[in-house]
Symmetry: C2
Subunit: 332 residues, 2 copies
C-alpha cells in the first residue's frame, strides 16, 4: 500500500491512534495547534532539527524504525544539553511518493518508541508528499526551572572538561559504511540508534554542577569549539583520556589513524560539559552510582591558548575548531 491510497488525513488518523497523550497534554494531535501545560514557573525549552535523506542518512544504510528513533533522540539530546526535561515532540515529514506505507509506519513506530523511552508525547506535526528525498523535521519542547538552565557560554579557565559515555562509536561505524564495509554491530547500533543523555543532563543541571554544556553532534572538537567561542575560552584535551568503547578500541587496533574520527566524527550525542574545580568532588559523588560513565578529558584555558590536543606522548597540537559544515563538500 502506498501513502497516496491512504491519504494524508488517513495517515494522520493512524498516527493519532498510536500516539498516547501524556502528562500536560490538554489538546494533542487533531486541532490547529497542540495545547500544553508546563510545570508552573519553568522556562520553555525548544529545539528544531532536520534530517534529510542523502545528507544525514541513506535509506539503504538505515532501517526506518531506527531512523524514526534517531530523529526523536537527537532532538531530546538538545533539551538534555540545556539540562531540561523533554516533554513534547512534533514530527513533520516530506514523504517521497514511492515510499511504502509499511516503511513509513516503521519510521513513526521508531519515533513513538523514543517518545515513550524519554517520557515525551508526540503532540503534533505535518505530513506532505516530497518530490525529492525523504525529509524529516522534528521539534522538541521541554522545560527547566529558570535557575538551572545550562548554556554553552559559562566555561571559565581552570574548569575541568567532562564527557558522558564513549566517543567515536558512531563515526567509526559511518567510516566503514562509507567504504562499503560492514561495521561492528555495537558501533552500528550507536550510529543508528543514539541514546540521548536525558537523565544525566537533567541531574547535572539540577545539581548546579555544569558551568557550560552541549551535546556532541558535530564532533567533540567542533562542539567544544562552540563552548569556547561562546565563553571566550581556550582548552586542552587529553587524547589519552577520551573514553572509548571496547568496540571502538577493537576498530582502532591496527588503524590508529582512525582516532581522528573519535575527535571530529560527530553524532556521539554524548554530553560535553565543564565543571568548576571546586565542584569536581561533588560531581564525582553524584556520578559514582550512575551506570553511565562520566570522564574528565581536559581543561579550560585562557582564550589565547586556543583549542589544543595533547597526544599520548604529551605533545600538544593547536587546532582550528571546525566541525561538519552541511554546505561544504564532504558528504556524511
Amino acid at each position: 500500500m502506498k501513502l497516496a491510497e491512504l491519504g494524508e488525513f488517513g495517515f494522520i488518523a493512524r498516527i493519532r491512534q498510536q500516539a498516547t497523550d501524556g502528562a500536560g497534554v490538554v489538546q494533542g494531535i487533531g486541532d490547529d495547534c497542540a495545547a500544553l501545560e508546563l510545570p508552573a514557573g519553568e522556562l520553555l525549552l525548544t529545539t528544531s532539527d532536520l534530517l534529510i535523506e542523502g545528507v544525514h542518512f541513506r535509506r539503504d544504510w538505515t532501517g526506518m524504525d531506527d531512523l524514526g528513533y534517531k530523529s526523536a533522540a537527537v532532538n531530546v539530546s538538545d533539551i538534555a544539553a540545556m539540562g531540561g526535561t523533554p516533554r513534547f515532540l512534533y514530527l513533520a515529514l516530506g514523504i517521497p511518493a514511492e515510499l511504502p506505507l509499511a516503511e513509513l509506519e516503521a519510521l513513526v513506530g521508531g519515533f513513538l518508541a523514543a517518545c515513550s523511552e524519554y517520557g515525551t508525547t508526540l503532540a503534533g506535526g505535518d505530513t506532505c508528499r516530497s518530490p525529492g528525498p525523504l525529509f524529516i523535521s522534528v521539534t522538541a519542547e521541554g522545560s527547566i526551572p529558570p535557575g538551572e538552565l545550562v548554556r554553552r557560554s559559562g566555561a571559565r579557565p581552570g574548569d575541568a572538561i567532562y564527557v558522558t559515555g564513549s566517543l567515536g562509536d558512531s563515526a567509526l561505524a559511518l567510516y566503514d559504511l562509507e567504504r562499503g564495509r560492514t561495521p561492528d554491530a555495537a558501533l552500528l547500533a550507536r550510529h543508528h540508534r543514539p541514546t540521548a543523555r536525558s537523565t544525566a543532563g537533567r541531574r547535572l543541571a539540577a545539581a548546579g554542577l555544569a558551568t557550560a554544556m552541549i551535546d556532541i553532534s558535530d564532533g567533540l572538537l567542533a562542539d567544544l569549539g562552540h563552548i569556547l567561542e561562546s565563553g571566550a575560552a581556550g582548552a586542552v584535551v587529553d587524547a589519552a583520556a577520551l573514553p572509548l568503547s571496547p568496540a571502538a578500541l577493537a576498530r582502532l587496533q591496527g588503524a590508529p589513524e582512525l582516532f581522528e574520527r573519535v575527535l571530529s566524527g560527530g553524532e556521539d550525542y554524548e554530553l560535553l560539559f565543564t565543571v568548576a574545580p571546586a565542584d569536581e568532588a561533588r560531581l564525582a559523588a553524584l556520578v559514582s552510582a550512575w551506570p553511565l560513565p562520566v570522564t574528565r578529558i581536559g581543561q579550560v584555558t585562557p582564550p589565547a591558548e586556543g583549542l589544543r590536543v595533547r597526544d599520548r606522548e604529551g605533545r600538544t597540537r593547536a587546532l582550528e575548531p571546525g566541525g561538519f559544515n552541511h554546505f561544504s563538500g564532504g558528504g556524511r
Copy 2:
C-alpha cells in the same frame, strides 16, 4: 555568493544578527535550545507546518521574500485559530546548493518581516543543504489563558457559521498561475502574502464568542468539514453569503464556474468559526468597529444532514467534505 562559501555557521550568524530577541526570550538563537518565558498560567500552543518546493510553492511563481513571509504567516494563522497570542517562531531550511545566498537572505528577510508584524521572535531553527527541492519547516509557539482555548470540536446544531475577510482570492490567483495567465495583482498578493488573522482570533477567544474555530488552509468546505467531524455536526453554507473581494468578483465575471474555487480552493488563511445564537448580537457589537469584515455564511445543523451548500436559487446540494489531499494527484 553561494551558501557553501559562507557555510552553515556563517549563515546562522547572519540570521542571528538580524533577529532581535523580543519579550520572553531568555536564550535565543545560538545555543542547543531556545529558552523562553510564557505568561504565568497560560497554556503553550504549538504548531508545525511544511512548505515544500514543487508541492506548496514554485520558485518561478513566488518571490523569496513573499515565501518567507508566508511561511511564518501560515503558522501564526494556526495559533490564531485556537485564539492564542503568537510568540516564538522556528525556521528550518533544507537548501538546494545552487540557491543564491541573496535569495536565501530575501527568504529570511520576509520571514523576519512577518515575525515583526505579528509581534513574534525568531528564536531558533536549523539549516542544511538539500539534495532535492527547497524545504521549509516552521514551528510556531503561542500561549492562551486555559479558559479561552477554542478547539475545532465545539460547534453545535443551531450555531451560526462566520468567516473573516474574503474567500477565494488566493485560489483564483493560483488558478491563473497554473494556466500561465497573469493573475490580478490583488488576488496574487493574497496568494503570496496571506494575512494571519491573529488579532481577530485572539479577540474572539478572549470574548468567549467562538464555539469552534479553524483557519482556512485546505479550503472552506474541507475546513468546515474538519469542524463538523470534530463536533459531530452538519452544516448548510449559503453560497450567496460568501464574502468576495472586488478582485474576486471581477475574476468571476463571465467565469461563474470558478466559484467552485472559492468553496474549495484553500489558502485563504481566514478564520472560520461558529457562534451560539444567543451570542450573535454580542459578536456584532464586537466586530462593528473592526476594519476586518466578519460575515455570517451559514448554520450548523444536526449531523445527519451532512454538509450542504445552498446556491443563489435556494437549491441545496450535499457534499462530501474533502479538501486537498497532499498525496493524491492534483498538483497545487
